[in-house]
Subunit: 188 residues, 2 copies
Amino acid sequence: MSRRQMARPGGRSARVQASVHTAVRELEAEVGRDALTVPLVAQRAGVTPSTIYRRWGDLRELLSDVAVERLRPDAAPQDRGSLSADLMAWAEQFVDEMASPPGRAYIRDALLGDPDGSNAGQCSDYAAEQIDVLLARAAARGENAPDVETVIDRVVAPVMYRVLFRPAGLDAAYARRLVAEVLGAVGR
Amino acid sequence: MSRRQMARPGGRSARVQASVHTAVRELEAEVGRDALTVPLVAQRAGVTPSTIYRRWGDLRELLSDVAVERLRPDAAPQDRGSLSADLMAWAEQFVDEMASPPGRAYIRDALLGDPDGSNAGQCSDYAAEQIDVLLARAAARGENAPDVETVIDRVVAPVMYRVLFRPAGLDAAYARRLVAEVLGAVGR
């Protein structure tokens, strides 16, 4: 996903992006993922196939962009009054989403059609932004808190590693244990 | 990579696998990765294209198997006299290999052509086996040691997460810090 695509959010470029993304989501639901083709998506979106090829390169890169869009958090995480409660709830939801069959499929799609790594970086930035919100709240409350890269290493990375490479035992209890350990390390 | 493929290491099946893997490695070096096709690999390996399609499904799954084979460690990690020295050296080499351009390409290949996750699981098992060797040595020396899943969460996962999603700062110092932290947690 190049910066250029985002340059004019109200322009033709943004309208094309929105209609193509919508076409992918609708067709995935209707005909299934394996039946998707660039001409089919183009027809549904009301653009020419060459518009899609010019902008996304191929179907895999388009699916990667759509996946990243779906992995974008809808809202800032809820304030539950303490860093521990906030981070536990966030991590449980993160495991729940990422380890679900659609979550796994989006992560795969995001990685696969992403030759320059910018979509994978965007996924990581989404997680970092949410964690930043929780850490800023903790700082405002005067709580001790780890830094964002430590939370990435100790909570986000093990979850994502297990989603991709070692899927057994990925549940809410695992998420809570990771959070308890990273917060325990700060408390000492 | 199905277990079946490994069933008769001396049989025709194993010979086909070896010649096809060799053909992929040679052709990658000669014509480059993007020029590889199933007919080209088949011709070099002296098998029919249908043999490859029957066994691997498509080029992507073949490349995934070749990548896993390349990610397999050559030997048990060296004994450096203490768990700390052993794990530091292992983690530095792991970062070095995985963050290198070929390492990144193999990890991507291993994930991409792996619809059932068995190749990704194999990569994770390779790391776990190497760590198991180090932890068994530590136990024999009477050293305190974390368990293998903790080392996976605290050292392997952050490295692999950063290789795939957040590549800045992946160096030997980072590897040493992860090891110092997981061993420090055990020491307390």
